[in-house]
Symmetry: C2
C-alpha cells in the first residue's frame, strides 16, 4: 500500500511556493489586466456579427451552427412551489475541456493558472484553468488560433491524467451542459506566456477568500481533487503534518478531517444513494423545448430579452476586443442576472466530524431530474420581502447567521463567457446543538469525504455545490 | 469499526438453509408450475384488447396511455461498424420497483423469492424478486389487485432499506428505461402464499447454474449486493470463513477475493473514470424518435412487425390467462428475438487477483451514450458466418474457448413481461498468460470489487453485465 503523502494534500498545505510568493501572484494579475487591451460594450442585437435570430423560432444561433444556441423551454415539475413556467435556456451539447496542468516543483505540486479575459468577467481578467476550451474552440470553428497547450490534455502522451470526469453546469441556465474537468501532471518545461503562472493549491485556496478572482471553471476543476482515493487508506501521517503546519486554521483542519474519516459519517453510502433514488422517483421534471419567440412571459426589445416583471435574468449582446485571445474581436450574446443570488452550506459537527447539509434540487437543465445542491441555492432579491412560508428552507438561518458562526464568505463569479458580471454570495455557516439533526426529506447530512466521492462519479453534485466546496478551502 | 461479518456474505456462503433444502426449492417450483393455470397464445394484432396502433404513427399504445409504448427510433452513431439504422424500441418512462425482502432466520439472511409467471418466460414460471411492479401496476391502472407486499418497499416503516438504486435495462430494446433495484430487511412474519419461498443467497447462486430459472429482475437486484461497502474495511475473518466453508469452490473464492481486494487492481478508480470519460467524449449517439409505421427496413403483417431480412427481433402479440396475477386475463405485445445471443466475460488473473475485461458499449437506449458492458455482448447468429474482421472483439476467444477454461456456462432469460422466450448464452472464460494485458482502447480490466462499486453509483454498468456478475456466483 502506498503510504507516501498524497501530493494534492501536500500542495494544499503549502501556502507559500518555492517558485512564487502569493503577493507576487496578486501583482502579476494586476499587471496582466493592464498588459492587454480589452473592451467589452453592450450592443443592440442588430449589431451582432455571425450571431442572429432564426427567422421562425427567434432562437439565437451562430452562423456555423456551433458554440451554443439560446432557445426556450417549458417546464412542468413537482420540485418546488412553482410547478409550471417557461424560460430561455442555453443549449450547448458540445463537451468542452476545463483543464489544469500540474507539475512538481521543489517537491510540491504546482498548478498552472491562466490570467484569462472573459467578456462577462467582473474586473475582466480572472484566474482560470490552464486550458478552457469548447469543442468549437479546439476544432477552430472560429478560424482563430488553436488553444494553447491543448496537446497536454488531448493525447495522453505528454502528460499523466490525474482527474478526467464529466461535470454538469448550471441547471437553471444550461440544458444538460457538461464539461470534462481535467487535471494532468506534466514533467516537461511547458513554454508559457506571461499570462500563465505556477502556484500551489494552498495559494489558490488563499486567493479563494477574495471576491471574484478565481473563475468558475477553475473552481469546478479544483473541486474534483481527492485527498483520498476510495481504494486507498487515508494517510494518517498527512493529517499530523497538516495539524503542525496549520495550527491556526482550525476550520480547514476539520474540513480536511471530514474528507478523510470513513467511520463517523451519520449515513452510510448505501443510505445516501437510497435517499437520492427516492428523490429521483419523487420528483418529476418535464422539459419541452419551445421557440425563443414564444416563451410565455418573456419579450424581446432591440437590446435584450427580458421577463415581463424584470425578474430572474435577461439576454443581451456585447462587442468584445481582446488582443490576446484566439480571435481578437467578436460579438456574442450573454445572460445577465437581474437579482442577487446566494449559495450557502450549513455545516454541523456530528459524531465529532463536520457534516454538510445537502439538498436534492430539481433544476430544468439537470441531466437526471435532481442533483445534490448546497443547503441554500436561490435568488435572494425576491425572497427578502416574501412571507416566511414561501422562502426556501434554511434561507433565514443563513441570512441571520451570527458573525461568529460564518466560516466562509465571499462573492464568486459565474462563467464570464456566458454570464455578464454574475456574482453570487458564497457562504458557509456552522451551526451547533440548537440545530436539529433531523431535516426535511429532501435534505441529508454528509461528510465532505462522502461528497467528494459523489463528485468522482459525476452528475451527482451540481456546479454550485462543487464550487462552494472549492471556495471554502476544500479544493 | 464494525467488524461483524457482512450478513450478505454469510448468506452467500450458506448453501443449505436451516429453513428449506435446495432440492425442496426445485420441487416447490415444479409444484407452482402445475398449481396454477397459465395459458399464453400468440394472437393477431387485431385481437389485442386495450392495446392498439395509434392511427397516425402506428405506435403501439395502451388505452390508458400507461404501461409502455412501442415506437421507432433512427440512430446515428460512430460507436460500431454500423453507423446508421432504424428500429422499433420500447418506451417505458415509468420507474418501477424490483425488490427483494430479506430476513434473518437461524442467524442467516434469507431472501424471499417468488415463483412468478410471465407470458414470455421459458417454462412460464421462473424465480422472481419478492416484488416486481411497474408504477402502473402499483397505481392499479389495470384495475386489478394491488401488488402483494408493496408496503414493505414503499413506506420505509415496515422494513430497513439495504439497497435502493436506479439501474438501466437493455439499451438495445428500451429507450432509457430504469427500475429501482431494492433490497429491504424485514423482521415481521410476512404473510405469504405458496408462491413465495425463503432461501439463502448461496442457494440462489446454486440455482443460477441452471438454465432459465432465476429471472432477469432477480439477477439485476442480486447484482447490487456489496460484500464490502466502500467506507468499511473488508472483513478478513469473512474470507477465512469462506475458504473453510467452500474448499472445493476455488473459482468462487477467487471471485469474492476480487471483490474485496483494494490494492492489487491494475487501474485505480480515477483511471477507470478517466477511461469512461474518454469513451463518452469519443462516441456520439443521436437518437431521433420516428413513428413505428415509418421505421425504415421494418414492416407490419397481421401478426408481427419484422425486419425485412428477418433479423434481430420482431414485435408480436399474445393472449394470457393466469389465475394468480393481479389481472386474470389480458393481451399484450411482446418482443420476440430472431437470433441467439451471447453475453460473456473474459477473466484473467493480474497481480494475483481476478480481473474482468469490460467494454464501453454504445446502445441506442442508453441514458448517457455508453455503459460498461461484458467483454462480448452480441447476437451470434449473424456473426458465425461473418468474416473475421467484422466480428465483435474477442467473440472467437469465447466461442473457441477450451472446455477447461470455462468457469460458468448457462442460458439465462430476459424479462418475460416484455420478451418472448428470449434466452442468451451466459459464459465466463478464464484466460492465462497467452492473453495480453494490453487491450483495445474501448476495453479495460477491472477487479470485481471495482465493478461492484460502479454498480452502486448507477448508470455505469449495463444490465447484461450486472446479470452476468450475479449469474457467475457473484450476486
Amino acid at each position: 500500500m502506498n503510504r507516501s503523502p498524497n501530493p494534492f494534500l501536500v500542495s494544499a498545505l503549502t501556502e507559500e511556493s518555492p517558485v512564487v510568493k502569493t503577493k507576487e501572484i496578486l501583482s502579476w494579475i494586476d499587471q496582466r489586466r493592464s498588459a492587454h487591451r480589452f473592451v467589452v460594450e453592450p450592443i443592440p442585437f442588430s449589431e451582432m456579427k455571425e450571431w442572429g435570430f432564426e427567422p421562425d423560432t427567434g432562437n439565437i444561433t451562430h452562423s456555423s451552427g456551433k458554440f451554443f444556441t439560446i432557445h426556450g423551454v417549458h417546464i412542468e415539475t413537482n420540485g418546488g412551489p412553482v410547478t409550471s413556467w417557461s424560460q430561455p435556456i442555453i443549449k450547448q451539447p458540445e463537451i468542452g475541456i476545463l483543464g489544469i496542468a500540474v507539475k512538481k516543483m521543489g517537491g510540491v505540486l504546482h498548478f498552472l493558472m491562466q490570467a484569462k479575459m472573459e467578456p462577462g468577467n467582473i474586473h475582466l481578467v480572472q484566474l482560470a484553468p490552464t486550458l478552457q476550451a469548447t469543442r468549437s474552440n479546439f476544432t477552430r470553428v472560429h478560424h482563430g488560433r488553436s488553444p494553447l497547450l491543448l496537446d497536454y490534455f488531448s493525447t495522453g502522451e505528454k502528460s499523466r491524467s490525474l482527474v478526467d470526469v464529466l461535470q454538469s453546469e448550471q441547471g437553471a441556465r444550461f440544458l444538460r451542459k457538461r464539461n470534462r474537468n481535467m487535471i494532468v501532471e506534466v514533467t516537461d518545461d511547458i513554454p508559457v506566456s506571461d499570462d500563465y503562472c505556477w502556484m500551489t493549491l494552498g495559494q489558490i485556496q488563499r486567493l479563494l477568500y477574495q471576491d471574484n478572482l478565481i473563475n468558475m471553471d477553475a473552481r469546478t476543476v479544483l473541486s474534483c481533487i481527492s485527498y483520498r482515493a476510495p481504494e486507498a487508506d487515508a494517510g494518517t501521517a498527512d493529517l499530523a503534518f497538516l495539524e503542525s503546519a496549520l495550527p491556526e486554521r482550525d476550520f480547514r483542519r476539520r474540513l480536511i478531517e471530514s474528507t478523510m474519516d470513513r467511520d463517523k459519517a451519520l449515513h452510510r453510502f448505501n443510505e445516501i444513494i437510497g435517499w437520492f433514488t427516492r428523490m429521483k422517483v419523487r420528483y418529476e421534471l418535464e422539459v419541452t423545448p419551445v421557440p425563443l419567440n414564444r416563451v410565455a412571459g418573456w419579450h424581446r426589445t432591440t437590446t435584450e430579452i427580458v421577463h415581463e416583471q424584470g425578474k430572474y435574468f435577461s439576454i443581451m449582446a456585447v462587442r468584445v476586443q481582446a488582443d490576446n485571445r484566439e480571435v481578437v474581436a467578436w460579438t456574442q450574446p450573454l445572460v445577465r442576472p437581474r437579482e442577487e443570488g446566494l449559495v450557502a452550506f450549513i455545516v454541523k459537527e456530528i459524531n465529532g466530524v463536520l457534516h454538510v447539509l445537502i439538498q436534492a434540487k430539481v433544476e430544468p437543465g439537470n441531466f437526471d431530474v435532481v442533483e445534490m445542491a448546497p443547503t441554500v441555492q436561490c435568488i435572494t432579491g425576491s425572497y427578502r420581502q416574501a412571507p416566511l412560508e414561501c422562502r426556501p428552507c434554511f434561507l433565514d438561518h443563513v441570512l441571520n447567521a451570527p458573525q461568529e458562526s460564518i466560516r466562509y464568505s465571499a462573492r464568486q463569479s459565474e462563467e464570464g463567457g456566458r454570464f455578464f458580471r454574475e456574482s453570487n454570495h458564497n457562504q458557509v455557516v456552522e451551526v451547533g446543538d440548537e440545530f436539529p439533526v433531523d431535516v426535511p426529506a429532501n435534505f441529508i447530512w454528509m461528510t465532505l469525504g462522502q461528497l467528494k466521492t459523489f463528485i468522482m462519479f459525476n452528475n451527482f453534485v451540481n456546479v454550485e455545490c462543487r464550487c462552494l466546496m472549492a471556495s471554502m478551502g476544500l479544493a
